[in-house]
Subunit: 332 residues, 2 copies
Amino acid sequence: MTASIRDVARRAQVSVGTVSNVLNTPEKVSPETRERVQSVIAQLGYVRNDAARKLRNGQSHTIGLIVLNGTNPFFTEIAQGAQNRALESGYTVLVGTSNENVKRENTLLSLFAEQQVAGILVSPTGDDLSPLCHLKDGKTPVVLVDRGAANCAFSAVACDDIYGGEVAAEHLLGTGKRKIAFVGGPITSSQISDRWQGAAKAVLKVPDATLRMIETTALTVTEGKRIGQEIAKLPVEKRPDAVFAANDLVALGMLQSLVFAKDIRIPEDIAVIGYDDISYAEFAIVPLTTMRQPAEKIGATSVELLLNAIERPRDKTRQITLKPELVVRAST
Amino acid sequence: MTASIRDVARRAQVSVGTVSNVLNTPEKVSPETRERVQSVIAQLGYVRNDAARKLRNGQSHTIGLIVLNGTNPFFTEIAQGAQNRALESGYTVLVGTSNENVKRENTLLSLFAEQQVAGILVSPTGDDLSPLCHLKDGKTPVVLVDRGAANCAFSAVACDDIYGGEVAAEHLLGTGKRKIAFVGGPITSSQISDRWQGAAKAVLKVPDATLRMIETTALTVTEGKRIGQEIAKLPVEKRPDAVFAANDLVALGMLQSLVFAKDIRIPEDIAVIGYDDISYAEFAIVPLTTMRQPAEKIGATSVELLLNAIERPRDKTRQITLKPELVVRAST
DNA sequence: AAAGTTTTATGAAACGTTTAAACGCCGTCT
DNA sequence: AGACGGCGTTTAAACGTTTCATAAAACTTT
């Protein structure tokens, strides 16, 4: 149906090998032949068959990326950063969303394996990294995104969530707040538990400060809204005077409920801080104070590490940790 | 390096054909053989080589999607809807972002062609659909997303932007506003010019109402902010009393500038309406009135049409038009 | 028991590309 | 004149599947 390298060869009166050379190593072909072949290629609208190519030389120029949530701007920015960096080196990125679902993550993983991806970028859902180790043994490089590697089995671009949690809590304490609620979950995810730990560390340093955990089932706007409503229903003395939301989505949802509760002013009665600094945090109903994570940079750096691992498989794995940064706005 | 179907065959003491049958048509293989083969597959951790598979039977189960802006939630929702629907039918979606750049769009197009995608979903950047026609002649089905097909060359899932523009403007006029500014651009994009036309239609029906165009270079938050500042700088009598932003991103940016201008109240002095109803519109500093587009449904429907075209190439192309819906919030 | 039918397994060809080795040609050097 | 090297080109094998024609074996029917 579509023109193949053989059709081009016939039409240009050369062998298939020569056409292939025009495509891959043009300097090996004499100028006249090269031009003749190129004009036939244009004429026929020939495009390389990537499947045959991949099959022949065993590796593709595609890398797989698995994010936790395809609609969270934090992750779409990571994806954007990754794609741009990958494109620079002639790689394509296949993006998949696990929705924090281990099964879906594994489906994607085997899909990627079937595609013979050159490497995989993954923000893992659970604590169990064994499917990934399995892949690694099979020689597919893997880089962990937004997650530290417990041991040094993987290269990783981590974000210092303990530090981030600490800074966030310190900021709330610094504005005079003492009854802090941490809203996030499920706590099984290491990002969340790290942020919690960081916050706990900061709170311990202030004698009369307290920290409590309000657990969500997912880090979504809807969950944030729900928790916000519950807090608004509480009698005034039982309410926290500050909320540390585990990400901006949750914070945005909470803001929404709290703002419309009639006896709550933000930040005077309840201050709210989020995490990630998604683009919409700035435009929220009350501009949201948050811990900025350099999402694009995370994506780009991950690709960088992965390309490294692809090209020099014997190199040691590398762990890069990026620090979040406090951005103060009206909500605190 | 990695196990192939031949390794499996040898280990299971059968021919390669049989292994292939176990994989593709298990009912043709006797239960004992099948189990033996399957256990060897598990043992060896064998995964199909998709490249070889594609090569052999000429078609892949991948479809390509090109969106205008990978960070606009409207498009990420379309992508989400498309992926989910595609997954149901065993297809994978390759998502690319053109950033409204014709060159990048063509790069992606040829990338997809090399991947032998089964079909392409595209929200085209310019008015020139000839590269797409070219593809179509090459028998790759193409479906236009968020864009009507001028003639019937393509199937398309369009959104009735003229109607949307009209409803939006009518709403503003209905709240007593008379000096309306349309903020959007570049006007070359058909979505934008349709919305503008719709608005013009509504304004014409009201004798003392005026409509003017303020052109942006891109539909981004940054551009919205800039225009907002310019409007705030204008002397009061020259200001519009209502703004129709061509999408929510622009609206959000404008809101940001206008809210912090000291002598402007929203919606009393200036009302703002957006377009798309991205999830963050609801949580904006002033909850944003907007025209809701059913993004997920657009994605899912597009895939539906595309699968149809893939399976029955001779069928007539179909045009589906979805209508947006007015969502009134505090900004008007 | 022979002929026919169904079930199950095999073997080889083909998909389109890349690549290493081989080849022929021409000019240069001994 | 013969050997040598470069250059440009061709040839053929390989990559891992699927498919289809064929063969062998196991039942059914006369």
